[in-house]
Symmetry: C2
Subunit: 196 residues, 2 copies
DNA sequence: CACGTTATGGCACCCTGGGCCACAACGGAA
DNA sequence: TTCCGTTGTGGCCCAGGGTGCCATAACGTG
């Protein structure tokens, strides 16, 4: 994305991802996602509609912020895990830790995830974003077990890890006072009990 | 949908879901989903573009055929299962059986699922369609355990069941000679082994 | 033959997204 | 100071999905 270039060469940017995000979230909150045309966001930010597409590939991508960055962190987090624990535990702890978001995020993590997971268009789009996240898990499992990332087992673990997270988010949005990582852990315990 | 009315009252329909599906699949196969405008499908079927929207709510819904119907069957299938087996087994067998599609479907199940799961726009849309499917499972689990369908456990089982199915489909599309229900079962075995 | 009923489909419109391109706004070199 | 390369902007135009509105076509019935 746009790391603040020290050597400002060429015309300076008219806005920032953060600025667009602030304006967009305010409007989404006020009028709803679907009822907020990009035209309006652009006007509010003070840029042309065309310019928004240089900051985000699509309207659906605006609420995600720097998710790509977060995915890289997730991969690093898994790689840094000790190898003496059982594989499933390592993966699970990674997933739990991943969902421990800073409380002072702006916009708040709850608002962001509520928007994404409760707006049909965004909920649909989310599978495309979560794809890379699943692949990080599949790649890790494959490396630990000597399998290929496209084998059934690594893919299954990727899909199931996402499933647990989504179930936890579902609950969390119903009652945001609960601990999100705690709910992910609880979902895993529930699954283990279910399969026992 | 349109069950063939014996008492034809008013103007008769100009086409059928089956007809649209046939034409659409042929065009999707030939030019790809994104590169096939509804305009073209309509022309080929011999109706107006506007009319297509009276048969399908969106372009994304065309490939799904009678999935709604299938969901009802799935619910019935779970309800008919004996109560003496462990809950997880009942659910799992339901999921496996659900994925045992007739070989003579038209268009072939493989072609349909390949289109849906390998086209990004359709892959995204699929979560909206699979929602009801997940809810059938959550409702069943809730009924069997005395919980609420919106509790964490039923939702988790719904999400995880879908995860297993998707992992199996992923593999199956790579190698369609394999048995799809077999792969779902294998995914479940893999998960159990993983969590052990 | 008129009438109610049901489906069609044209028209106007809004919205997302992308190609194209002139131009604006910088820093640096001459 | 002026010119130039670089980089971001944003207007214009178009394709395509999706919706509301409404006139009209194509039936069966009385």
């Amino acid at each position: 994305m746009t790391t603040t270039r020290r050597t400002a060469l060429g015309r300076p940017s008219a806005t920032t991802h953060a600025e667009i995000e602030r304006v967009a979230f305010a409007l989404f909150e006020e009028r709803g996602f679907d009822a907020t045309p990009l035209e309006l966001i652009a006007a509010e930010v003070g840029v042309g509609r065309r310019t928004l597409f240089r900051y985000y590939p699509s309207k659906n991508d605006i609420p995600w912020g720097l998710f790509d960055r977060t995915v890289e962190d997730f991969a690093a987090l898994l790689d840094a895990a000790p190898l003496d624990a059982p594989l499933w535990e390592t993966v699970h702890h990674g997933v739990v830790a991943f969902n421990d978001f800073p409380r002072d995020a702006d916009p708040p993590h709850e608002q962001r995830m509520r928007l994404i997971l409760r707006t049909p268009a965004l909920q649909a789009h989310s599978v495309l974003r979560y794809r890379q996240w699943r692949e990080v898990i599949a790649a890790y499992v494959a490396r630990r077990t000597g399998a290929s990332p496209s084998d059934l087992q690594p893919r299954t673990v990727g899909h199931v890890s996402l499933a647990l997270s989504l179930a936890a988010y579902d609950r969390w949005l119903d009652d945001p006072s609960a601990s999100l990582p705690g709910l992910v852990d609880e979902a895993m315990q529930g699954l283990r009990a279910h399969l026992d």
